[in-house]
């Protein structure tokens, strides 16, 4: 199956052409495109004169599936969008649902703290994958091993709390699926203690590495104007100088209580994005430490109103109301009053947003995702021009796309 792309279909003009032009299809099966991406590049020698990314090779129909599942079930498919930080997707979706339900002020503090904890751990785990695979693209394999080992310990935490390493479905409407299990906080302390020496090692390996710097500095430069025009968010935007972070601009889930910086750079090249993400990992761990202190005090982990979150299992045998609520929640879920809402969160890739529409039913009417990776990836059409074909891999890595989110 060859897709013939007509000449006129490229959205970015080529600066000049010559007879040495070759059309090269990178992907969709490629070791370094970070997923199923096809880039149809026109190259002259080694210089890229046009780059046309083709997406859709992982289109899963998640938004349509979500329309056919209950509100509380839809998160199972929604978590599988940005599969490197599934809990962030679930949190964003449930924040939107809670806003529509009108219960967003009733989420207990402990639930909010655990949500923040898991989202920041997801951020670190996601950046570990970015760093490891980005390093592999350049030939730096040791960094991959170090980063994935750190990620393993974080996945242990997800497995302990939610039951699965990826896609734990632990964040639910009104709070969490259950309280943190015993032993979790000790494991978390282990991860916190492991983080700093490990990242010191990784930075020593990579940050001032002359090969890495040679390959990343002045590659894929994005200006602040371009960043806004191409709707970039997240580390890609912050590396151009604009410190827009949803956690600071529109705090959710108690982020206003934590002290953290928003790393920003001005160069806008791949190395700047690299440094921004490294610093972001440190800031995420800073938040994790602050949350850890708060988790010592026990508290409610889900909303008290059992019309939205199931009652504690012990009460089902004792209270008729609890039994009925549990039955209704499982068999036909709750109904969400009609309305629409746009809820953003700061995912590892940028502003992840859900535009959720309800028509009063027990299923979502529409769940539209604002996918940060899709918008971040689009700028490749612009920044690849004039770069070497070998830099294409560096640029894709620095934009950090996840195709579950790009294609949905």
């Amino acid at each position: 199956m060859t897709t013939a792309i007509p000449e006129s279909s490229y959205s970015v003009d080529v600066v000049e052409r010559s007879a040495n032009r070759m059309v090269l299809s990178m992907g969709p099966q490629h070791p370094s495109t970070h997923g199923v991406l096809q880039i149809i590049t026109e190259i002259e020698g080694e210089i890229v004169t046009k780059a046309s990314p083709e997406i859709g090779y992982l289109h899963t129909g998640i938004e349509k599936s979500a329309e056919n599942l209950f509100w509380s079930q839809a998160s199972t498919v929604i978590e599988r969008m940005d599969y490197l930080s599934p809990l962030t997707n679930a949190l964003c979706y449930y924040l939107a649902v809670e806003k529509l339900l009108g219960i967003d002020a009733q989420i207990p503090p402990r639930a909010q703290q655990v949500r923040v904890l898991l989202c920041e751990l997801s951020r670190i785990a996601s950046h570990c994958v970015w760093l490891g695979t980005g390093g592999i693209d350049l030939g730096a394999l040791t960094g991959f091993f170090y980063c994935f080992d750190l990620r393993e310990r974080i996945l242990d935490l997800f497995e302990a709390s939610g039951g699965a390493r990826m896609h734990p479905n632990y964040i639910r409407v009104g709070g969490l699926g259950r309280d943190l299990p015993s032993g979790f906080l000790e494991k978390l302390d282990g991860v916190i203690a492991m983080y700093e020496p490990r990242m010191r090692d990784v930075r020593r390996l990579l940050q001032k590495n002359p090969i890495l710097q040679d390959r990343m500095i002045d590659v894929g430069i994005i200006s602040a104007d371009d960043a806004l025009a191409w709707s970039l968010t997240g580390p890609t935007l912050r590396a151009t100088g604009i410190p827009y972070d949803v956690r600071r601009a529109f705090p959710y889930s108690g982020y206003e209580e934590y002290e953290f910086d928003v790393p920003t750079r001005t160069e806008g090249d791949a190395y700047a994005r690299f440094l921004v993400r490294l610093d972001e990992m440190d800031e995420a761990m800073r938040i994790v430490r602050q949350v850890r202190k708060k988790l010592d005090t026990p508290g409610a982990w889900q909303i008290a109103d059992t019309k939205f979150a199931p009652p504690p299992k012990e009460t089902i045998a004792l209270s008729m109301e609890a039994l009925i609520h549990h039955f209704k929640l499982v068999s036909e879920s709750f109904r969400v009053p009609p309305g629409d809402v746009y809820q953003p969160v700061e995912g590892p890739r940028g502003e992840l947003g859900y535009y959720v529409v309800s028509n009063g039913d027990n299923r979502p009417w529409r769940v539209r995702t604002r996918p940060p990776s899709m918008y971040n990836l689009q700028v490749l059409k612009k920044i690849a021009i004039g770069e070497l074909i070998a830099d294409m891999v560096v640029m894709i890595g620095s934009l950090d796309p996840v195709f579950g989110e790009v294609d949905r």
Partner: protein, 160 residues
């Protein structure tokens, strides 16, 4: 075994040695599609280390790989590409369908996902899970190694 059986004996030993060699160096093709691909990458990481089973490198070129690990959901656009890559792989070749989506469509019983990669290519081992833990993938590779040693489709004297 009597030497009088001549060629049979020699071929049997060569066959067994060939199968042992093949099973000890199964090189997978990078067919990482979605979340399962991350767990596949984790299987190459130190904690699980698929290299100790012989899968030292994942080859990007289908000509150089003998195992295709379909890890992730196969979208409608991607289906023909998976088939083409499978056809490009040289015999003997094996296929692991990793995860629920590759095995049967998984959670996504809808228009966009091919309901099981075994509708396009023959599969040797199915690994359940969403995603399966890297341990599951290692066990699947073990099962492939057993199949190779028993002379399943694709021994050095390939059978149809």
């Amino acid at each position: 075994m009597a030497l009088g059986s001549g060629g049979d004996f020699l071929l049997t030993t060569v066959d067994a040695v060939a199968r042992w060699a093949q099973s000890s160096s199964v090189w997978p093709l990078t067919m990482g599609l979605a979340c399962c691909a991350i767990e596949m990458m984790t299987a190459t990481a130190p904690e699980y280390d698929i290299a100790r089973l012989g899968s030292e490198v994942f080859r990007a070129s289908p000509r150089q790989a003998d195992l295709m690990i379909v890890s992730g959901r196969v979208a409608q656009k991607m289906g023909p590409i998976v088939k083409r890559l499978y056809d490009q792989m040289a015999d003997p070749k094996w296929v692991i369908s990793m995860g629920a989506c590759a095995s049967s469509g998984g959670v996504f019983d809808n228009y966009a996902i091919v309901q099981g990669v075994d509708t396009i290519i023959p599969v040797d081992v199915y690994v359940p899970g969403c995603p399966p833990t890297p341990d599951g993938l290692l066990y699947a590779v073990n099962l492939i190694q057993q199949q190779i040693k028993q002379g399943g489709r694709g021994g050095i004297l390939a059978r149809a």
